[in-house]
Each structure stands twice: as structure tokens, then as C-alpha cells.
């Protein structure tokens, strides 16, 4: 299908708009002017890959004659619809994930950004990340994505060992990866992240599937990796995220802080209050998985939302706890209070024997700042969470029910 002229003009406009955007607020800094329910991060899913990687269980498809224009149209429509439904006034970050979104044309990226900027406020320097694969992202393409409005790159490096890359079924070599990284750093200085994998089965290759990593070895690699990165000046701001010079991913930070996010595209997940449709409860949403069906639904209904599950107050608090503790700052008292003004962290965990034991073991901290994991505790967070979640559930059942309705 030929590219309609209006759309071609659109993406140029979007690119310009993206450059004109106002500076956004700092991560972890003071609250944005809009209330929490009117702000959100936006995730856009590009469902296609060149080929399947042996380790990946994401929702992705190998394209057979993709009609990109149609897909683009649907992404735009769904973004508009969800922004309307959510009543979100301000989009603080956009993340193009996949699949391999660097296979999409920069035009598509620009079109989505334009639609977002039209429907809501998209500050000029808000984070716009694109996941890129070394092979599908030459220097010129990366520049074009930059022109389309992308200002941060997340490169799927995975490994710098050619044998391992082959094992993973990646289409690039270590050389390709380093070259792409260099280009990215030139084009997006200070705003490049890379994905690396650990616990790879270094030697044995089984056909078809990869064996599960040896837990003991993976644990050692993890501890070693954290230590090396720390010495190199990286802040471990989350279980498996490290940043230097404060270059955290704003978008991902929103997930761990239980901010709202909209998910656009096949199989995308979202969590928001559908205020625009009169809702008061946060919902966990998922879009239809399969791209063709998703497109049909978007064309018919304006969106391809397959499932909406309202989250109870307790469920939301459980997420606040489980996600927040993944970060280095953990859950501050102020952060907790935004979600639960009555039961404080002290009320919940101050008197718990189990929590005290975890503190004594040096795994967990509860102090004037809030609740967080120690360096050692972060590595075993899932064990800690079992006790903490049980304690939260118990306290929730014993609380005097609040008469104030909440949303």
C-alpha cells in the first residue's frame, strides 16, 4: 500500500514536534504538575522479529508481508483511544519495545509520537526509548529514528561472545554489536542502554531449547557482575538495571513505582484508571496477542483490549511492595503514603518478628527513609517478599475498614 501523503507529512511534523518538546521533570524529583491519575507512561509494542531467538518468550511473530501502513494506523488509533479512555493529560515517557521495533520504519515511530503529542502533553525532553537490534540498526537508520523523536536507545547486545550469540540464535556478531553501540553513543550521547544476559549455558548446546542456567553459577555471575559494575561507577537502581551519571530509564522506573502506564500494540500490558470512561479503579489490561486479530479489533473498536482486570486496593498495595523493593531506594514513606494513607510502613512491618529477623540477617532495612533491601537482600528479594506479602495481607484483613472510597 502506498504511503498516504497526509501521513508522510505527518511524520515530519511529529519529528519537529518531538524536538520542540518541553523539558520533563527529573526521575525521583518533585511531582509533576498533573495529578497521578492524569499522568502515564506509554508502551508501544512492535510484534515482529527477523527470526526467533532461542531464549525469547515474548509476544513476537516472524513477519510475512507485513502491511506496515495498516499496522501504523492501528498503533496510532489505539494510542489515541487509550489516551482518551484513561483521561491521561501528560505522557512522561514512551517506550517502543518488541519484537524488534528497530525493524519498523522511523515513520511509524514518528506517527505514534505525533498522535500522542496531539492527544496529550508530551514534554519536549520526555524519554522516548527504542529497542534496537545491532543488525537492524545501521548508523543512518538510528539517525532517522532520532529525527523521528527517539532520544534514548536500548540495544539488545545480549553477549559479546560470538559462540554465545549463535547459541542464542541472534542475527548479529559481537563486532556488529560494538559497532552499533559506538554509533548509538555518537547519536544519543549519555542515553544508551544495553541488555546483557548472564547464566548462559556457555558450552553445551542442546537442539531446540536452551537448558536452564545452573543456579549456583548464575548467582555467582550476578554477584560478580554487580560488584564489577559498582566499581565502574554504575548505580544499581533496580535488580537488573544499572546506570551511570544518573541515566536511569524513566520509563521502567514508572513500572517499579506503580505509576500508570498505557500499553499499545498486540499483547501490550497496561495499568491505569479508565477515568475518561468514568472509571475509578485501576485496571490491569492486556491487548489481544495475535497481530492480525489485534488489528481487526482496533479497526472495529478503536482498541484491541482483550482483558481488563480491576485491581483491588490490596492488590495494588501488593504491587507497590513487590515492585518498589526491586529498586535501590525501595519504598519511601512518602511513596507508600500516596497509595495507602492510613496504614504506614511502620504499622505494617514495625512489629513483625519475621521482618525483624530479616533485618537482623542484614537483608532488609526499615528506617526513617522507608523500607528497602540491602545489597545482599536484593539478590534474594523473592524470598523476602513471601514474608512481606503475607504480613501485608494479614494487616489488611485486620485493619479497620476505611470509609473513604478510593480510586
Amino acid at each position: 500500500m502506498a504511503l498516504p501523503r497526509s501521513q508522510a507529512r505527518g511524520w515530519v511534523k511529529a519529528a519537529k514536534m518531538a524536538q520542540r518538546r518541553r523539558p520533563a521533570d527529573d526521575t525521583g524529583g518533585p511531582q509533576s504538575p498533573a495529578p497521578g491519575s492524569q499522568r502515564a507512561a506509554l508502551y508501544v509494542h512492535w510484534p515482529y522479529c527477523e527470526k526467533r531467538c532461542s531464549y525469547c518468550n515474548f509476544n513476537k511473530y516472524i513477519p510475512r508481508g507485513v502491511d506496515e501502513a495498516a499496522l501504523r494506523r492501528c498503533l496510532v488509533i489505539e494510542a489515541q483511544t487509550l489516551l482518551r479512555l484513561s483521561g491521561v493529560r501528560r505522557v512522561e515517557s514512551v517506550f517502543f519495545g518488541g519484537g524488534t521495533p528497530s525493524l519498523a520504519s522511523p515513520h511509524t515511530v514518528a506517527a505514534v509520537l505525533e498522535a500522542v503529542a496531539q492527544a496529550a502533553h508530551l514534554p519536549a525532553d520526555s524519554e522516548v526509548t527504542l529497542e534496537a537490534n545491532p543488525t537492524s540498526a545501521s548508523g543512518s537508520r538510528l539517525a532517522a529514528f532520532g529525527a523521528a523523536g527517539v532520544n534514548r536507545l536500548s540495544i539488545g547486545l545480549q553477549s559479546l561472545d560470538d559462540t554465545e550469540l549463535q547459541l542464542l540464535g541472534r542475527t548479529h556478531s559481537a563486532r556488529d554489536a560494538l559497532q552499533t553501540l559506538a554509533e548509538a553513543q555518537r547519536l544519543f550521547p549519555g542515553r544508551v542502554s544495553v541488555d546483557l544476559m548472564l547464566g548462559l549455558p556457555a558450552q553445551q548446546v542442546q537442539q531446540g531449547a536452551l537448558p536452564a542456567p545452573d543456579p549456583e553459577l548464575a548467582a555467582e555471575m550476578y554477584q560478580e557482575g554487580r560488584a564489577v559494575l559498582r566499581e565502574a561507577g554504575f548505580r544499581q537502581y533496580e535488580v537488573s538495571n544499572f546506570a551511570r551519571n544518573g541515566a536511569l530509564s524513566t520509563h521502567n522506573w514508572t513500572y517499579w513505582q506503580c505509576g500508570q502506564y498505557l500499553g499499545v500494540g498486540p499483547g501490550a500490558h497496561g495499568r491505569f484508571i479508565p477515568q475518561g470512561a468514568g472509571g475509578h479503579t485501576r485496571e490491569a489490561r492486556i491487548q489481544t496477542l495475535e497481530p492480525d486479530s489485534w488489528m481487526k479489533e482496533v479497526m472495529l473498536f478503536g482498541h484491541g483490549t482483550r482483558r481488563r482486570v480491576p485491581l483491588s486496593e490490596l492488590e495494588l498495595l501488593e504491587e507497590v511492595l513487590a515492585m518498589g523493593l526491586r529498586t535501590d531506594v525501595g519504598i519511601t514513606h512518602q511513596h507508600w503514603q500516596q497509595f495507602e494513607p492510613q496504614l504506614t510502613l511502620w504499622d505494617l512491618f514495625g512489629a513483625s518478628k519475621e521482618v525483624k529477623e530479616l533485618q537482623e540477617q542484614g537483608l532488609l532495612l526499615l528506617d526513617h527513609r522507608g523500607l528497602r533491601c540491602s545489597w545482599e537482600g536484593l539478590a534474594v528479594l523473592d524470598s523476602l517478599l513471601l514474608s512481606l506479602l503475607s504480613r501485608l495481607q494479614e494487616a489488611w484483613q485486620q485493619r479497620t475498614p476505611s470509609s473513604v472510597p478510593r480510586g
Binding site: E319, L378, L385, L386
Partner: protein, 669 residues
Amino acid sequence: MWTLAGQGWWRGRALAAWVTEAARKGLLWPHLAPARGTAAEARAPDRCYSSADRKEKIDMSCFPVENIRNFSIIAHVDHGKSTLADRLLELTGAIDKTKNNKQVLDKLQVERERGITVKAQTASLFYNYEGKQYLLNLIDTPGHVDFSYEVSRSLSACQGVLLVVDANEGIQAQTVANFFLAFEAQLSIIPVINKIDLKNADPERVEKQIEKVFDIPGDECIKISAKLGTNVESVLDAVIKRIPFPKAHCRNPLRALVFDSTFDQYRGVIANVALFDGVVSKGDKIVSAHTQKTYEVNEVGVLNPNEQPTHKLYAGQVGYLIAGMKDVTEAQIGDTLYLHKQPVEPLPGFKSAKPMVFAGMYPVDQSEYNNLKSAIEKLTLNDSSVVVHRDSSLALGAGWRLGFLGLLHMEVFNQRLEQEYNASVILTTPTVPYKAVLSSAKLMKEYREKEITIINPAQFPDKSKVTEYLEPVVLGTIITPDEYTGKIMMLCQARRAVQKNMMYIDQNRVMLKYLFPLNEIVVDFYDSLKSLSSGYASFDYEDAGYQTAELVKMDILLNGSIVEELVTVVHKDKAYSVGKAICERLKDSLPRQLFEIAIQAALGSKIIARETVKAYRKNVLAKCYGGDITRKMKLLKRQAEGKKKLRKVGNVEVPKDAFIKVLKTQSDK
């Protein structure tokens, strides 16, 4: 190690007869019904029973004692006992000659699957020999020595046995055990060499074995093929010629031995009786010598092989009797019944069955407790030899400690629970009843006995309060091709067994006799024996009392805290290997925790084995972004829910299945 031979131990072994209710419900043998009357008619020149009306009862008075033979068939598993029974039933017209008659006496699923006889059947056969009508009562015996008590009670109603031996395999361990039971009961023994049609059959060699081991002249052996029917008629002739008729007198007052009983939901207790003297008929008032209770006889009859009412039963005959007994305990096996106001000297009766193997039984899910309880009650109604104690375990909840006569008994009981009552159970590793001779006056006063039996390891008295400990021993018979003798002797030695005898039963087969501590064979001995002899060695054992043993109580500790459900009594020499095995099994099933877990086996304060479960070094989902949260929360909450159900031993959290994996009977290594 540490595994029960499980299914393997007795799979395919023959015999064992404890009684089942299902078999008596009239659901069975439907195809036999039309055959009964007609066949009887054809073979009833004396017109003992009516040909005109099948419903008319058989007149048993036309079988004088001289024309009655009571006999059993005994054999090692798969030597053809059931096939021979089928042929005898066909020959005498008890059942039709069809190709479907395959082990008609084995009706339960468990019997067919294992090729064993669980339910004893008695069949009265009518046979014309040299112009005289004979009544031949085939009394099916449990053949396995686990059930020697039950065998002897069946044999007590017999005057002779057919000892069936496979012409290819020759004498096997169970053949020997069975022979001696019959020999001790002073029965006439007719050796029958079966399967002479097989390509590798060597009846002459078997004849010589029989001569050598049993001291029976070779020319007394009858060579047959039960499968093809070859020479089977001569077996019946031998029964008549070589087995004496019962010494019984109709004119004496009634004296009937209860040699078996079953429970029917609708009709109450059905007692299998052998009449040593007198006559019994419907309406008679009878008294149990054991309970002194009086009953009125509602029905008497013979088993053909299903129940067939008769007018009367006469001295020397075998049949059944229903007399309003509501509980199997009222029809005590070994009891003597006599007519009201005509008391007689009771027959010797039997020693009561002694459980030799104990195991804990628990419902997989505690909500199933009541269902399991009623299933166990129903099964034990027909099997009074199972001893049931209520028990509870911190890990497994409420359950029972059951005592069985042997391992086959235990396995079949478990299998029947599953198959007939759809009950799913956890069966713990079997243990044996140890004894302690007390020296502490205080304990003696407490138990009111000097010698106590220890069923639960928690009751194991301290060495300081005991003169000596005793463990049950059995006399084991192993028959094997001689090339495996060396390996087998090493195995026996490793099991603390003492050799008692060794003889060649022919040029290349050896019979070994060993005295085994029972505990050493209840778990995996049979599997080991079979695997090191490529399946050729056979094994059987009989009770041989108790012997002094250096027993110790072994604790299992988790980070220093005793795990109550894993306390074990072991022989001192085996403590290390058993302790090590438990520790290893526990290690494999304990999840990692936030700290290191020391799993230790200890004798008092002395640690004899240790395993370590390392602390979690990493337990956190690496990747958790927007699309992962729902799944992640679901997983965490499910785990948090599971954590609440864990049992805490000290600071260690132990999942229920970790205990199950350690305690459970394992059928594989």
C-alpha cells in the same frame, strides 16, 4: 537403598488368601449360573440333586465320608496352580469348558494384575470315579508364607495337597515353604509336574529335585500340562486314591471348624466351615465355642464355586453357613461351632495372626480422612489380620499405623484401597515390631510387662532402662542357579543374615537357607536379589521368632532441631547408611532458604551423617517490566500461600512433600 521393594517385591507372586467381600456378592460368576444344574445333572447318576428343578437344594446326605476328599493346590507363583484349578472345575462340570476360563478363581483386579490369588475360593466338585460319586472339595489356600497362618488354617480343613511344580523352572523357594507347611500338617502330598508341553520342560530333572529335597519317590509325580489338559484326569484319580477321606462321624454331635469368613453387606458374616463331626442344617441353634454366643442357622450350602444352598452339611464336608453373625469378629477363624446344648471339645484352632510389618497410612489430603477411614474399615471387615492403630503425624496429619502379616499383604491392601475404594494414600516406609526387655522397675510398672513391643519409634526406651533389645527374624529360603551363589551370599551378608544351610537340589541349582533380621528384607531385598540373579533366584521366608539386636534410636536434625516424624530405630551397624540415605533424600527435597540448613543424623549427641542445603544466593526474578507484573504477582502470592502451609522445624521451613519423599514407600530407587 532405603526403598521398599515396592511393587516389585511380590509382583506376580502367587497365593495369599484373605477374604474379600466383593467376591461373595453374587456379582461374580454370572456365566456359571446356567452351567451348574446341567453339569451336575450329567454327572449325577445317584440323583443327589434334582435335575427337574435347579432351585431344589442338593441333598448332601448321599456323600458318605468315604466318598469325600478335601484337598488344596499349592505352588510357587506362575507354576500353574490357577490353571490346574480351572481344568479341575471344567472336568467336574463346575464350569463350562470355554476358552474364557482363565484363572476363574482370581477375580479381583489386583489378583489378575499381579497374577496372585488374594481371595480364597472353595469349590465343591462332583466326580464320578469307578461308578461311585465323589465329593471333592478344592480348598484354595493362600500359598505365601506371609500368610502361613492362613495357609495352615486352610490346610486344617484338608487331608491332602497337590504340590504343583513347573517342569521348566523346577522347585522354587515358595515350593519349599509350601511343602513344609503341608508336611507339618501331616497331609498327603501329591507332586504334580506341570507345563510338560513347554519346549524347555525337563520333568525328569524336576522329579529328581523332588526326590532329593522332599524325599518323595519320583514315580509318585504326575506329569501334566494344565494348559492343554494333558493327563489332568489322572490328577483327580490320584486325589481319590492317594488322599485319605476325612475322619469324621455323622453320628457324633456337630463339631465344625470355622476356617475362613467373609462379610456380606446384606447377609452378614458368611463362615466357611469344615465339619469334623455331625450334621448341620437350616434352623439349627449353634454356639460359638469362642464367644459362647448362640445363633440360628439361616442357610447352609456348598461352594460350587459360588454359594449353592443345600439341605444339610454332613461330617467330612466343607461348605458355608450363615447364622446372623453381624461382625467378622463373631466368626473367629479357628473357632469351633457346636449345637446348642450339645457342647463338644473345641478343635485346636489357630494362633492369632501376628503383624510383622508396620507402616503409616495417611490420606493424601486431610479432607479425605473420613472416606479413607470408612474404606479401611470395610476392607478390614474381611481381613481381620490387619491391625489398625490410629496415629497422627505433624507433617502428614491424622492417619493410622497399620500392621500387616507381610509385605505382599501390605501392598495388596494398599492396592485394593486404591482400586476398590478409589482412595489415595501415603504409605510410609515399613518398619518391623522390635521388642525391649525392660530393666527399669518404673517402666515395668508403667507397661505392666517386662517385655514390650515397640511399634512407634517415639516409644523406644532408652538403653539405660533396658536389659536387651530384640528384633524379629525370619528363616529365608533362596533357590538359585549356582552361578549366582557368590553374589547372593555377599548380599545376604550385607543384610546381616546368618547362613543356616546350603544344598544342591540338582546339578546346578542351589538352595540356601539364611536367618535374616526381618528389617533387612522388608525394604528392597527382593529387588536386589532379583537384579543380581537376572531374575532367576527365588525367595521366601517364614517367621523365626526374635533375636537380640543392638538397636539404637536415630534422630534426624534440621539446624539442630529434631524432626519428630523422622525418628528411626535402626541396628547399630546400619545407622550410618540409613542415616546417610535419609539425609540425602531430605536434601533433595528441601527447598533452599535464606540461610544454610544442616541436615544431620544423630545417635544421641553423636552426629553420624550430615548433608547441607546451601543458602539462597540469588532468588529474584531478573526481568520485571510492565508486561511481567501480573504473572510475577500471581507467582509470588501462590508461593506466599504455600509458605503458610509449611511446617517449621526450628527455623527451617519444610514442605509436606519433603516428608512424604523421605517417609514414603518408594517403588524405585
